[in-house]
Amino acid sequence: MHELSLSSAVLDTALRHAGGQRVKTVELTIGALRQVVSSSLEFYWEIVSRETPCEGARLELNMVEARVRCKACETEWTLDDPIFRCPSCEDSDVEVLTGTEFFVESIDVEEEACTVRE
């Protein structure tokens, strides 16, 4: 049910920026530490967007891996398991560089073309 709340939040953000126009694509950046299952997000997105200007809009997902840096020895690594301890020096004073994102980057809206009558 996590993805239901998140897709609702995405919908609210997209509608706020769409200016009433039909939305065709929503571009998201999602970090691995947000525990989002993309197929679940797409499933709930289809449901929450029905009968809104976002109905039928496609989610464009940029998934970002979790990168962590050890403050003691400056080693950087990609987190596969949620172990926040440096693989080099075993220190636990670490900094999460990427992986916590949940951003709506952009939306594609469909505009009516202007026609000029001669």
Binding site: M1, H2, S5, L6, A9, V10, D12, T13, A14, H17, A18, K24, L28, L33, R34, Q35, D81, P82, I83, F84, R85, S92, D93, V94, E95, V96, T100, F102, F103, V104, E105, S106, I107, D108, V109, E110, E111, E112, A113
Partner: protein, 241 residues
């Protein structure tokens, strides 16, 4: 028809954060500190609060905002201790949500006597996933992890364990009856959230409850860390950023 790409560049949960900050402002106005208490269903949040309230928090006046999908069973239990308890039901117009968010908390604030309390404990809906995502305006987040849930929970739910400044390991009175390796749990907690404060408690026997009272008091006095994986998460810190 032609398409235009509109740049948004917004955190999708910005709206929730904005409302959480409004809640924060209301809490600050009345000098109330807030704890967001989370756990899986049945870990013992309500029973621990009963144990805390049984002997009281000294001069500290506590109130509870109780979040459940349905019913008032937990609120009724806590109201017996003469602390103001306000119930939020997420199925009452919020679609039966599995967590509290800032908007739900805000909707209930009118019924919370903020001027009569020093510390508000928000007992969240039992859920190890979603509540970790939604700030509600709290000063500190704490979670209860009971030993009947298994040693591997921190590895399976890292976001929850990392977002809290306190992990309460509950039901330790059952240790003699279970094939359970407490050291493995503690090591897993330490791997996922290094340095997080951990309390061992039994709401049933009262073991560790005094230290939990001390921690709650320290939240009020501003000493307890409100951590979100190592960075301050309280809205005061967000406003200062």
């Amino acid at each position: 028809m032609h398409r235009t790409r509109v740049r948004v560049a917004e955190d999708a949960l910005d709206a929730n954060t904005t409302i959480a900050q409004a809640n924060r402002a209301d809490f600050d106005r009345e000098s109330v500190r807030v704890v967001n208490l989370m756990s899986a269903p049945g870990a013992g949040k309500t029973t621990l609060l009963e144990a805390v309230f049984r002997d009281g928090l000294g001069d500290l006046r506590a109130g509870v905002l109780e979040g459940d999908v349905q019913g008032s069973l937990d609120a009724d239990r806590l109201a017996r201790f003469h602390v103001p308890v306000t119930q939020i039901n997420t199925d009452g117009g919020f679609g039966g949500e599995c967590h509290l968010d800032a908007n739900m908390v805000r909707s209930a604030l009118g019924e919370v006597p903020l001027e009569e309390i020093d510390l508000l404990i928000i007992e969240n809906v039992g859920n190890l996933v979603c509540p970790a995502e939604f700030r509600v305006g709290e000063d500190a987040k704490a979670m209860v992890c009971s030993i009947t849930e298994g040693e591997d929970k921190p590895l399976k739910y890292p976001l929850m364990f990392r977002t809290c400044g306190l992990v309460i390991v509950n039901k330790i009175d059952l240790l003699p009856h279970l094939d359970y390796d407490l050291d493995t749990l503690l090591a897993n907690i330490e791997s996922v959230n290094p340095g997080v404060e951990v309390l061992l408690t039994s709401a049933r026997t009262g073991e560790g409850v005094e230290r939990l009272r001390d921690w709650l008091a320290s939240v009020f006095h501003g000493g307890a860390p409100a951590t979100d994986g190592g960075t301050p998460v309280g809205e005061r810190a967000a406003a200062a950023a």
